[in-house]
Symmetry: C2
């Protein structure tokens, strides 16, 4: 955002309004005026900052990415297996409430439009990089301290991410949380049998 008013509160309020509009209407039906409807402050303030939905969503995706990065950084546990599970809890949550599910749905809709909007493409590419780096670092720490087998960390990270991503996408588009739950169970089994090294 090219915000000139300098208020962190305003940015936060705009982002929250965007989140609520996306949860309620989904991506195609979310317009800047629908976001304005969810915005408690002056609507002109919102229109002043953003000329269209794409412009606003670009900032929104950046905001989400920053939050996601902060969440990953906040994971305190150092023990590699527990740390890997903590990362997966954030990647493939199985306790999504209705709003959480709707929001994931909106995010997938936006991602499906990445080929048409360079700014979306860039944010999702960075988001994938962040996930993969986090997984690779965790796997490598586990190999180093002997918790994990000497797997190819890059390939394993990408395999785990694609599996988690596929289960989320399939489950969210069919509104079937059991797909996410079974996905997570399978991933946990994979980690247990293929990655964890028992002395």
């Amino acid at each position: 955002m090219t915000a000139g008013d300098g208020s962190e509160d305003t940015v936060e309020a705009i982002m929250e309004a965007t989140y609520r509009a996306l949860c309620t209407h989904g991506y195609p039906a979310t317009s800047i005026s629908k976001i304005a409807d969810e915005f408690a402050k002056s609507k002109s303030l919102l229109y002043y900052h953003y000329e269209d939905k794409e412009d606003l969503l670009e900032d929104f995706l950046q905001y989400l990415l920053d939050r996601f990065e902060a969440e990953l950084t906040a994971i305190e546990t150092e023990e590699p297996t527990a740390r890997l599970h903590a990362v997966l809890d954030r990647l493939i949550p199985t306790d999504l409430d209705t709003d959480g599910l709707r929001f994931r749905r909106a995010l997938l809709e936006i991602r499906s439009q990445a080929p048409y909007h360079d700014a979306y493409h860039e944010q999702f590419e960075r988001s994938d990089e962040l996930v993969l780096e986090t997984l690779v670092d965790t796997i490598e720490a586990g190999i180093e301290d002997g918790s994990f087998r000497a797997v190819n960390s890059q390939e394993t990270a990408e395999f785990l991410y694609s599996t988690a991503y596929g289960a989320i996408e399939r489950g969210v588009t069919l509104e079937d949380m059991s797909i996410l739950e079974r996905g997570r169970t399978s991933i946990d089994a994979y980690i247990e049998t293929q990655l964890v090294r028992y002395a």
Copy 2:
């Protein structure tokens, strides 16, 4: 389609026009008039059969599902490992040309709209069932003839499908075919090390 003209050729021509419109414009920008532009026969014939895009796409998804089912049925090889790879070749092709990539992209866009259209939801649910049944049958045949280990066929099928789906979705939205290629390599490695049983 509630086609009353009985011409298989007309149905085929409408479906091909839909395919071309989706490849060219993507889902949101594909309108019934854009499909009509791709349709060589009388446009009024198309408007006569379909009142809107959703109505036409419902038939289009059914058409795709029938074709996909025919493709899977046409796999002749009986040997379980080769058969599993043949199914995966259809699920996660790594040799997509530009049109193929664009079409997959449009399909993901349509799927992202499944929560808003019951008819889409139903088709994608059936499509997932078809994939999972095919994988389960292949895995069970392999367990039976001793080619595969005695894994849980349902869980393994779903794990393989989610991984393939996630790699396709990630690759197609970021227009990066290498994600599909690496996904397929990892799946092949999983089959080789976890599923195939060596005497």
